[in-house]
Symmetry: C2
Subunit: 119 residues, 2 copies
């Protein structure tokens, strides 16, 4: 990831309504939610919501797919993970004692290991 892309992603969630939208979608899972459902849940006027959904989409932090009349929006987990890694890269001069070690979650196997420990 490079600076400009990261700024795009960060800008897209650096706003109260958009952060709420994004977190809702992160929690909703890959199926996502229709625009109307998002607006209803978060009580956001539709034109405003549409403006923000577009911002998140253009940045690349959420995906949209049309299902008949509905448009389902979902979190782009890859983009999110890339951003988190970018932010914490080479943390603490390589000692990495002070930040979550995201690289331990970077591959599927490592994620599995991490979860096994937890359970």
């Amino acid at each position: 990831m490079e600076n400009k892309l990261a700024v795009q992603l960060l800008s897209s969630i650096a706003q109260e309504a958009r952060l709420d939208i994004f977190r809702l979608l992160v929690q909703a899972g890959s199926e996502g939610l229709a625009a109307g459902a998002i607006g209803e849940t978060l009580k956001i006027p539709l034109s405003t919501l549409s403006f923000h959904l577009k911002g998140l989409s253009v940045a690349g932090l959420i995906n949209a797919r049309q299902v008949s009349r509905f448009i389902y929006y979902s979190a782009n987990y890859e983009a999110m993970n890339g951003l988190l890694v970018y932010l914490t890269e080479n943390c603490c001069a390589g000692q990495q004692a002070c930040c979550p070690d995201l690289s331990c979650n970077a591959t599927d196997n490592e994620i599995k290991s991490c979860k096994e420990i937890k359970s």
Copy 2:
């Protein structure tokens, strides 16, 4: 963490210069860097740099400490970690197959376990 605080933190790094500054400090470790050293490394005019350092400080993402004539800025790792957790909380409807499981890094012991696996 709550929405408004997270937006504050995100806004503070949702800008090219400030993201560079923050990442430089994340990598520098807890000792931090003097303002002048940051400006020199990143080629940012001092008044602009000062404006951005203030933004990051007010948001709470970096700390400042004065050492004689120098002011050392350092990353606030707690704030950063809190933000990362907030973003990924309850990811994927609790299945957490799609995002780094930061909660496995949430405590020191868990971080240790995670690292042991990796090595």
